[in-house]
């Protein structure tokens, strides 16, 4: 079984559209949407939800007003500005749940045991069926923390399903950036497909995300999306990547049918039989070839 994670550094380069097409081309796969902040894969793959579970990533503090003696110890020890002091005849202390980092220091040091510290519901995760196979996806509550833990949970569930059902590929739709949720997405994956575009931002962000994948020893394959927007830059990026030992999985042309596919809730390879679908097919063939020649990890 191989786990392919699709990441990009820069957002909006086409990760989700590509993941949907790769899933269609692969036949039956397990899908994992690890962009738990702003998940979109469900908009193309229309999952039928089979199970819903709550996600608790950490704890949050809450001050019980009837026990609080107003001493201000919590305010003094909190480093995250999460204890709010309301001035009055006697100051009143409250927790700002958005700022609370879940460290529990306020609760530990409260002399009156007036700060409760309880597991917080940070989001939900789902196991679903799609036309391309099972899918694990999630929704982190707005303004919540612990996206990395939720990503790890989604990946672990996808792996369990792939093992149970004997499916050969897990395709992971990753988040943008290079921080906590991206690190949780790529650690231990068999391959990272990095989707970029030939722009100054795409080039800049590719360098950082490729360095990140290298840091975690995940083999990187490059996809240059919309390469014909700036062919000279695409060529330069391809050469730079090759010189750093990154292999080119494929180049995909700019085509409005990619947006057309999204508007009709279809993967590009389902929606269009044109040249852009051909580019994606070729890229999948290359990727499979690479994956099957690389050693089992």
């Amino acid at each position: 079984m191989k786990e392919i994670v699709v990441i990009s550094g820069k957002g909006g380069t086409g990760k989700t559209s590509l993941v949907a097409s790769l899933a269609v081309l692969a036949g039956k796969v397990v899908l994992a949407d690890c962009d738990v902040d702003a998940a979109d894969l469900h908009l193309v793959l229309a999952p039928q939800v089979k199970s819903v579970s709550g996600f608790t990533g950490g704890k949050k503090a809450n001050i019980l007003a009837d026990r609080c003696n107003g001493c201000g110890k919590c305010f003094e020890v909190c480093r995250f500005g999460a204890v709010v002091r309301q001035e009055g005849r006697r100051p009143v202390y409250l927790i700002d749940p958005i700022a609370c980092e879940g460290c529990g220091v306020c609760s530990y040091f409260c002399p009156e045991k007036a700060v409760e510290f309880k597991p917080a519901l940070n989001g939900q995760w789902y196991i679903s069926d799609t036309r391309c196979g099972p899918m694990v996806h999630a929704r982190l509550g707005v303004a919540e923390e612990n996206s990395g833990k939720l990503v790890t949970l989604v990946r672990n569930q996808a792996r369990m399903i792939a093992e149970e059902e004997g499916l050969p590929y897990i395709i992971v739709d990753g988040p943008p950036g290079i921080g906590c949720p991206v690190i949780a997405t790529i650690t231990g994956a068999d391959a990272a497909l990095v989707v970029t575009e030939p722009t100054v931002s795409g080039e800049h962000d590719l360098a950082r995300v490729a360095e990140l994948a290298g840091h975690f020893k995940v083999p990187v394959y490059l996809c240059i999306n919309k390469y014909d927007i700036n062919p000279a830059m695409a060529k330069k990026m391809e050469e730079d990547a090759l010189s750093r030992g990154i292999r080119l999985a494929g180049k995909i042309r700019y085509d409005r049918s990619v947006t057309g596919a999204q508007l009709s809730g279809a993967a590009v390879v389902e929606f269009s039989g044109g040249p852009v679908a051909g580019d994606i097919r070729n890229m999948w063939k290359e990727l499979v070839k690479y994956l099957n020649t690389s050693e089992e990890r």
Partner: protein
């Protein structure tokens, strides 16, 4: 602008045009005579400098506090491991192990240690670079590659905002802690979207976020196509005000690919970004 204003540019979905809007708006405001401070809070992938091309003069590292153990004083009581919620410090067989990358810097272990064996030292998570691009003061954070902890660096960039200035914050994508750190305390949030199912789904999440924070906001529709009314319909249904529509224009995409601002290089865009600036000033 007589008084200060902090405008954060956010989106939910990545790649909708946050940096395009922030950088062009900054240039428009500078040409209109405002003192502008551009704060790039997308510390995982900062791109504003590629378009504003500032001269960067000052550079300094940003640290978070992590525990430092004096084993001479340690009595292996295990209190530090018990208070830590992040598994960043554990006491096993009379040894104290720290995992600095897991540490959020809450300081609980140092406070709880009965013998004063724990002090704190700094661990670098990234750098801040500061400079100018003409009339625009510029500052961005760059998270070290391999580093998970971005909010403290974002807060550092964010705290540089000045009074008596138009502060423009280029926020990271998403709706969780890094974005909150970037937009919290802003006077106004511009939400940049595109008229696609992905763009609008994520705009919905971003709206929930700014409403949770209680910040006034407006929408910029990027890559607007006159035949597609998805964004207008969505905004009408959600009670959102559209402040600008930037057309789906290949010349803008090409300028972006080269690192050029549409404001200065594509005819007709000066007026569009001056109009957006006016709209923001009226709303905020």
């Amino acid at each position: 602008m007589a008084s200060s204003l902090t405008v954060a540019v956010a989106s939910g979905k990545g790649g909708t045009g946050k940096t395009t809007v922030s950088a062009n708006l900054a240039r428009a405001a500078a040409e209109a005579g405002h003192d502008v401070f551009y704060l790039d809070c997308d510390v995982e992938e900062p791109n504003g400098h590629l378009f504003l091309k500032p001269y960067l003069g000052r550079r300094y590292p940003v640290h978070i506090p992590v525990p430092f153990i004096d084993m001479e004083k340690c009595i292996s009581c295990g209190a530090c491991g018990e208070i830590c919620q992040y598994s960043a410090i554990v006491c096993i067989n009379k040894h104290v192990l720290t995992f600095e990358k897991m540490c959020h810097g809450c300081g609980g272990c140092a406070l709880v240690c009965p013998t004063g064996a724990i002090s704190e030292k700094g661990r670098e998570i990234g750098v801040v670079e500061e400079g100018r691009a003409g009339r625009i003061a510029f500052l961005h954070g760059k998270l070290n590659v391999g580093e998970a902890m971005s909010p403290p660096l974002i807060k550092e960039v964010r705290s540089a905002g000045r009074h008596g200035t138009l502060n423009i914050i280029d926020a990271p994508p998403g709706t969780s802690c890094p974005v909150i750190a970037a937009v919290k305390g802003a006077g106004f949030v511009l939400l940049v979207t595109e008229p696609t199912p992905f763009g609008l789904n994520d705009l919905g999440l971003a709206v929930e976020m700014v409403r949770t924070l209680g910040i006034p906001h407006g929408v910029v529709v990027n890559r607007h196509d006159s035949e597609n009314s998805l964004a207008r319909d969505f905004c009408r249904a959600k009670g959102l005000k559209i402040l600008a529509e930037i057309p789906d224009d290949r010349r803008v995409a090409e300028a972006y690919s080269r690192g050029d601002l549409a404001f200065s290089s594509v005819p007709g865009y000066r007026e569009r970004f001056f109009a957006l600036l006016d709209a923001v000033e009226k709303e905020a």
